[in-house]
């Protein structure tokens, strides 16, 4: 009984208290309602955006950018991580260059991306892809390299070569680390998207927030921030389910 309370209800207590305090402050008009709209006002404008279909439109385009960027950047990071973990030749050819690019804050490339790729989808997807690539690359590389040599030697002894050795030994051994990279990359993905969408764009959640700022629609700004938070949590939950499922052999992930 105490355990259910602790696990299911307790995590939501603090957000609820914050929400109630916020509502009370707004209702007493301690601060200006245009700066600090009540939760109920936020909920109202959320409802308005849903009914008009505006919100769905913006969410759709934002999710598209996030997903395509993650797919491209994540694939490149995964492949480079595997190659460089697998082959010394590949590592010494690519790693130094990758580390140099990694050390540039990728958002600093935003002006350059706009000049080169225009203000269309390409520049935003490029930035998201660039941002998510590195955490996945580094964690994949680390994962492949930290696979127990004893397993590799045993695998060879039992006739595993090339792809078989990779599929049965290296990849499953590196998976816990790859998932750490993925979950970190999801955070970078949202961050990059928000910044990229606040500049030079005419749709997406970031645009919605920036546009609202121009008209002092604080309630809509708050709506977009909450949506970011919800999607961030949702993405992490999906990754966690995948992680739990893929790593059910691992003592740390067992129920």
């Amino acid at each position: 009984m105490a355990n259910t309370f602790q696990k299911q209800l307790l995590p939501w207590l603090l957000p609820l208290v914050v929400l109630i305090v916020w509502q009370v402050i707004a209702m007493l008009e301690i601060v200006s309602p245009s700066l600090f709209p009540a939760p109920t006002t936020v909920l109202e404008s959320f409802y308005g955006l849903v009914v008009s279909g505006t919100l769905a439109e913006h969410i759709q385009i934002s999710l598209y950018r996030a997903f395509v960027g993650l797919l491209i950047g994540g694939s490149i990071g995964l492949i480079l991580g595997i190659l460089n973990g697998w082959s010394k030749w590949s590592f010494f050819t690519f790693d130094t260059s990758i580390q140099m690019v990694r050390n540039i804050p990728h958002l600093a490339l935003l002006p350059l991306a706009i000049v080169w790729l225009g203000i269309g989808e390409t520049s935003k997807i490029f930035l998201v892809a660039l941002g998510v690539m590195f955490p996945i690359y580094i964690n994949t590389l680390h994962g492949i390299r930290s696979v127990d040599r004893g397993y590799v030697e045993m695998g060879r002894m039992y006739g595993l070569r090339g792809w078989q050795l990779f599929r049965h030994v290296y990849l499953p051994g590196a998976l816990p680390s790859i998932f750490v990279g993925l979950r970190y990359a999801l955070g970078v993905m949202w961050l990059t998207l928000i910044v990229a969408e606040t500049i030079a764009t005419s749709d997406g959640l970031g645009y919605l927030a920036m546009n609202a700022r121009q008209f002092m629609q604080t309630d809509i700004i708050i709506v977009t921030i909450i949506i970011y938070a919800l999607f961030g949590k949702l993405a992490d939950m999906i990754a966690q389910v995948g992680e739990k499922n893929a790593l059910r052999w691992h003592p740390n992930y067992r129920k």
Binding site: M154, G155, M157, Y158, G159, Q164, P172, L175, W249, H250
Partner: protein, 250 residues
């Protein structure tokens, strides 16, 4: 346990085998013939070169010079099946027990895997993750994984040294029984002299990269460790090892 009519075992011929790592000569001119189906134990202190000899025979290292032949074939050309048990079981934690046994096998191996698991007494654990097994159970699975390939040579790299005394005795009996049923060649590397005299037909002592003792052990099986002939043999080997301690001080 195995249904095949193929004759198991391989004759191993080691001649003038030498291995150096840099300037460090780990094995010096080792000559040894292991007969088909023989159970040979190699004993020695750590750093004596016994593990290097094992790795050479397993094909995990290349000799600096000398020859190593399996039924008169080089290791690269031999079609002898060589399997190994390690001190740590090296079961892949992300594969179930039965998938560990069938690792790298092609075709329909599930039934064979089940029957070897039965032979080591673990068939009811086939769906478990290795992480849930005890040390002794893990080594049984590792033994099953080695046996399903119907080895001609089974290399045992101190596979029992991490187990408790009771489990170790049980495993020794199991290994001996399976070896007697299948008659493959067995190469046991151990620092436990009692284990060597209990299991092996022949005990070879390696000291400082050279074979310094080569003893036949014709005692009838199954052997009892309290048998005085066995105890005498154990004493003989142990005292020979201790004799080699440098007596003069620096």
């Amino acid at each position: 346990m195995t249904n095949s009519t193929r004759e198991h075992g391989v004759r191993i011929n080691v001649s003038q085998l030498q291995k150096s790592f840099g300037d460090n000569e780990v094995l010096k001119d080792v000559n040894l013939t292991i007969e088909k189906g023989q159970f040979i134990a190699i004993v020695g202190k750590s750093g004596s070169g016994k593990s290097t000899l094992l790795r050479l025979v397993a094909g995990l290292e290349q000799p600096t010079s000398g020859a190593l032949l399996f039924d008169d074939q080089t290791i690269k050309k031999t079609d002898a099946s060589v399997t190994m048990m390690y001190q740590d079981s090296r079961l892949l934690p992300w594969k179930t027990v039965i998938d560990n046994v069938g690792l790298g096998l092609k075709g329909d191996w599930k039934d064979r895997a089940l029957s070897v698991l039965q032979a080591v007494g673990l068939s009811e654990f086939q769906k478990e993750w290795p992480g849930t097994l005890s040390g002794g159970q893990k080594q049984r699975v590792a033994l099953a994984r080695a046996l399903i390939r119907e080895p001609d040579l089974l290399i045992l790299d101190e596979p029992l040294s991490a187990l408790d005394a009771l489990t170790r005795t049980e495993m020794q009996d199991l290994i001996e029984q399976i070896w007697r049923d299948n008659q493959f060649t067995s190469l046991l590397v151990t620092h436990d002299v009692r284990e060597a005299v209990k299991l092996a037909d022949r005990i070879v002592l390696i000291e400082d990269g050279e074979i310094t003792l080569d003893l036949e052990n014709p005692l009838p099986r199954p052997r009892d460790v309290t048998d005085e002939r066995l105890v005498a043999l154990e004493k003989q080997v142990t005292s020979r090892i201790l004799e080699e301690e440098p007596l003069t001080s620096h």
